[in-house]
Symmetry: D2
């Protein structure tokens, strides 16, 4: 009743929603951003149906507060994921669009 493409899209949505709300709020700076990127990628890669995950966090938005760091916010995310279910793959992204951290299916490669 459900196609593989539909399930692949569902699985991609789960992973993007999950990583966003798991990690938003994490104390971060330009120096530590790489460590947080690695932890997010390793966490997402464990989940079922994930074929590929790439996480970049926008250093340009990491303006320092009075204590010299900031927090991971939604607009910093630049994420691409590929999920696979059977024959279907779904490529999706989380990235800022006009001030909103948009999650979007990019295509079925």
């Amino acid at each position: 009743m459900m196609t593989d493409r539909e399930q692949a899209a569902f699985e991609a949505g789960i992973k993007l929603g999950a990583l966003y709300h798991q990690f938003v709020g994490t104390p971060i700076s330009r120096e530590t951003a790489g460590s947080v990127e690695a932890a997010i990628e390793s966490a997402v890669a464990l989940q079922p149906f994930v074929e590929r995950i790439r996480v970049r966090l926008n250093r340009d938005l990491m303006a320092e507060n009075v204590f010299g760091y900031t927090e991971l916010s939604g607009l910093m995310f630049d994420v691409e994921i590929v999920t696979r279910v059977g024959e279907a793959a779904c490529r999706a992204a989380l990235r800022a669009e006009e001030g909103y951290p948009m999650m979007r299916v990019l295509g079925y490669p």
Copy 2:
């Protein structure tokens, strides 16, 4: 290129992944579970493409620790959501299946 059903499934996945990782770990007890259910429902209902959301948290799993409460864990969730994109609606759930908090598309009502 993407069907409405595919996007509706994607949107349902986003919301289930998001609520899980936003709220897991919240201190909870049988007495406060209703308040947390209401907050989760109100948060999810704000998000785009959500037509209906119902959150129940399994009190039977809320065994008290030495301080008289516990934490919201994945297996406590019993959630149903309906998302709508254009003509397509997607009904999906998050609930325990054989010890795993499974997210699943239930159908296209």
Copy 3:
């Protein structure tokens, strides 16, 4: 070796740090803010050594994004807590100070 005041301060810190990072990122609007306040208060009140907790979320900062809601951010918090250990009570707060969500001990009432 540790005084009751020191432990009361430690316990207040735990609760403020915990609620901040548990709930930041929650989808919210002026209409749903009351529900989230209630859930946070009920969660914190369960934890050991908490005598009083009051959570207000600043509606003025809840500007709507293109989908008509926003996210709970650190600067929205206006929280006061009283913890008690033995004879000592500690009153502490989380609220915005010069663009930073500051946590501070207010006194020992």
Copy 4:
């Protein structure tokens, strides 16, 4: 009115409460635990008054679910932190005690 030791204890509490509720729920396995430990340590070290932070996550508790991973749970944490305010340092820990993820001041080194 507040001693340096009291504030150091308050600051230690903040950091332990924060890291717990930021990272609990993260998908994890024995293979990725090191990456998550590094990310938590780098996040905590950014925060004010932190002199030292050491995070170990208990691999023995990382039993695999049907998909071959698990989630970071409170009982997995073994954390020690030293905060410093003026002349006072506070050493505190988060680790399992009798089935509860206990946060405790260990002393003023």
